[in-house]
Assembly symmetry: C2
Homo-oligomer: 603 residues x 2
Amino acid sequence: MRTSIATVCLSGTLTEKLHACAEAGFDGVELFEPDLLASPTSPEEVGALARRLGLSLDLYQPFRDAEGVTEPELAAVLHRARAKFRLMQRLGVDTVLVCSNVGTATVDDDAVSADQLRRLGDEAQAHGVRIAFEALAWGRYVDDYRRAWRIVERADHPAVGVCLDSFHILSRGHDPAEIAQIPAEKIFFLQLADAPALTMDVLSWSRHHRLFPGEGSFDLAAFLAHVLDAGYTGPVSLEVFNDTFRQTDVQRTARQAKRSLTWLEDQVARRPLRSRRPDGPSRLPDVGQPVAFDFVEVKAEDAGEVDEVLRMLGFTFRGHHRSKPVRLWTQGAARVLCNEHLAREWAPTLAAIGMEVPDPEASVRRARLLGAPSVFRRTRAGEQDLVAFRAPEGTEIFFAEPSLAEPTWVPEFDGGEEPGGAPALTIDHVNLAHPWQTFEESVLFHTSVLALRSQGTQEVAAPTGLVRSRVMRSDDGAVRLALNVAPVLDRGLPQHVAFRSPDVVAAARAARARGLHPLPIPANYYDDLAARFDLPAAVLDEMRELGVLYDRDESGGEFRHFYTRTVGAVFFELVQRDGGYDGYGAAGAPVRLAAQHLASAGR
Amino acid sequence: MRTSIATVCLSGTLTEKLHACAEAGFDGVELFEPDLLASPTSPEEVGALARRLGLSLDLYQPFRDAEGVTEPELAAVLHRARAKFRLMQRLGVDTVLVCSNVGTATVDDDAVSADQLRRLGDEAQAHGVRIAFEALAWGRYVDDYRRAWRIVERADHPAVGVCLDSFHILSRGHDPAEIAQIPAEKIFFLQLADAPALTMDVLSWSRHHRLFPGEGSFDLAAFLAHVLDAGYTGPVSLEVFNDTFRQTDVQRTARQAKRSLTWLEDQVARRPLRSRRPDGPSRLPDVGQPVAFDFVEVKAEDAGEVDEVLRMLGFTFRGHHRSKPVRLWTQGAARVLCNEHLAREWAPTLAAIGMEVPDPEASVRRARLLGAPSVFRRTRAGEQDLVAFRAPEGTEIFFAEPSLAEPTWVPEFDGGEEPGGAPALTIDHVNLAHPWQTFEESVLFHTSVLALRSQGTQEVAAPTGLVRSRVMRSDDGAVRLALNVAPVLDRGLPQHVAFRSPDVVAAARAARARGLHPLPIPANYYDDLAARFDLPAAVLDEMRELGVLYDRDESGGEFRHFYTRTVGAVFFELVQRDGGYDGYGAAGAPVRLAAQHLASAGR
């Protein structure tokens, strides 16, 4: 499957974009006209640079307001088209995107549009180029790909075909199944974009909020399957207008874009396709979802305060690593590493997450094929081989085999105590705080590399602004990552690890006895609980005393949880799920965020 | 007119919000429940703090999902309501906002809703409080203020009235004129919010994009007039959910909010009102719009490079200020000050704009009443008194009387040359680059303080992201400020001053002869001009040679312009308007931004 990307997806100058696309492994690019106009590089240089970088120039775009016009206007269109066709010859690009008329159309007649496209086609043919006609979702008259195809069919010109764009088709809810009725040789080009489910005018949605495949809510695997089944063999090209990607690092965004197509190709390859071709979509290694958390690691120059919090939560100190300044704490299946190796000036930070996966080697191969950046950690003979990948917000992700008892790396630690005592915990979820600009990349990373599934986005008010939160989880809920997006001006959102306990109130009381001061929760919160739920006074009093929060879902499932104070940039939570409660206590989140804000200000 | 503001409008903790509201001069606040729940401050303390600060607690809000429910659900509603009414007693607040049911309503019947509100009203009355019922724009059954009033009328209970919210009414396009049919004593509360004209689901629009009056596109003066004409005498309260205001400085946002009500009150006072009351809206001093730019000032530790650019543009050096290290350059009515006073480590920056206004003293009084921050500049005996106000992005705004010839402050400069020579220029517009978080504040500032009118927003692609741009102008176009919003990650957007010339091509040629190297414009841009417009080859060649850009509007009006390179954080533009062209060459803006990006990278 040949991959391409429109230069408008990326930040930077045209030459920076071309370099980034080549480095990310794309086969070609769509040249977005404004990128060329703003470039001091001549068309001949652009063509030569692309060839040197191994990129084909697959499409020149867009040519606007071409058809449905009056005869005098058509003369100006043909004048403009001839200049652009000559430019395409200089560039060495043979297809131009002509989108349906938005600005100047006054004639709503397939016959007229077909005739005008045919005349444009004659000009194109004379210049050795061809026209891909696309229905914009907001075209004045032509806003449906089926009508665009009817017009192209009627134009009946070898240099005139259609361009299909997933956004324009799926945003309008048009059925992509009818793509199969278009002859393959008349599909001149294919553009893909994902998008979040938004209810807004389609032009703004398109111009600002498009996403790479896997980041939004369109079923692009089904869409692409329809196009491939029609026999399309041209490039699969991304055209993603997105306010964030326009300003983030060009190389990183290009790699993210390429990853989205690699993932999508695998998704399509797993579907039954009518037309199998040698260059059809290829599959990634089969990996299941993670089956459990293996460990979390906190890195710090001095992790002593974290050790202390873990001790008060009932964790057992299991010893020092035999070759590195790393300490292990466990409680049941919850394992926390305190790593002081190469951590100069690190405040305590969540640095790594271990995942138990069915086939770690396959997971590593898959991550590599998806271009996930790998992390190098020195190991010694006899120690577990450590292969890790860096998630977009910086956390390292390790893969290990599922372990019924303790994992085989635990004996690398010695000098500690035997486990036991406090009730066993598991890691329930890990909360990864993000700056706003890596959120979409993270959704794609965890979808494609870890095969986690994305849930809906929630918003929670903090004193410093709205925090956006989306959970990525395995279907059985054994592994859950909450991606939290900090307000733009707030650089201080901490990460956190939530441990699941069978009895949070008892755990809170035991922790208190060991000296823990949990995050203080305001009395006003408990007055509201009393108003909302029929909780016995004694139960409420105990929660109030221990700083335990409470939530109940519609079917009566219950959630009890409490938080430690923040140490450096990390804190811990203990949660208890009863009666099938499957959320995260969103109602308490603003209370927690405000309490942390006050605590960080020393109030 | 009593002013109030909902705590949800602001960032920070509840006590920070109360302090900021009091300092900004509000008479009261609406207490947003989540702010109280997340606060360690007890209800009694909150009430006492508000009283000490001179703030009334005008409303407790919101109470959700109260009516249209089944009888068993109503029992839970009444339980919850009793707890909240007791809480209101502890706080010392007598009105609660009950919004129309979104989540639990199953009965779509005015009689049932009226009956349930009546029973809530009995409980309220027993606690000495009252209920203001509001139709949410997205209420499941009740989504129109007229239906909310019908229900309240039917409930016929002294403790049950309506709350009117401009957003819920105007966002749905409901006619506010029918407010006049609601008896004044049954309008228990009034909430105001402005909003931009967006086409999106009303819930997201409401939760993220509300604005303070004067910042959006609602006609709030007409709306408020309807409410006052109905005889309403309660507080006029802002309820603005906005993602930006939730994270910006609480004191600054509170002052901005207060300014919006001061401006709105003046707007209403200028309308014919049926009901005039002693505490009705009051007027600001009458000021017209600015009639011309007086000067612009560039501040720099070393402004030598700016001097040089001005000289090459044909400006005359008019001398040094007699008491400060400030130099004056003029060309016709275009006056530029190069100020090196107290400018240590300043790169050249646009620091101040002088405006000629009909009555400078009235403008100063108006700015003070609007809470515009004033700027102190030392003057000496015999020098012009300098009164200035700081616009939100930092530029100082000075007021002066209109001058037919040169202003009276020019003779403070000596040692320069006589003006003349190059064709006279005027200042056409000034372009103020903003970080994203001060844009709305600036729209309000220039609307209220300078009486400029806001035009629509445009977006322009730069290599570093999308730049948003909105022009604020006087009706006759003599004074125009373009507010440009930089992409979030781009801290380097420069300011610029555009001078209007009768002949830009001649001016560019003369400047070239004096040694100016204009911003280089790519050849590709001119190839596109040739495709789009029927310009003679010689004309195109001359523009290409001189770096002059070109635009044409739909009625044939023409725009020619060129840019200097950026010096520090400022650059200059020369523009020529012919045939009624009234824009700013938006088509060339991406080309200019890319050229500046390349120039700043030294390419």
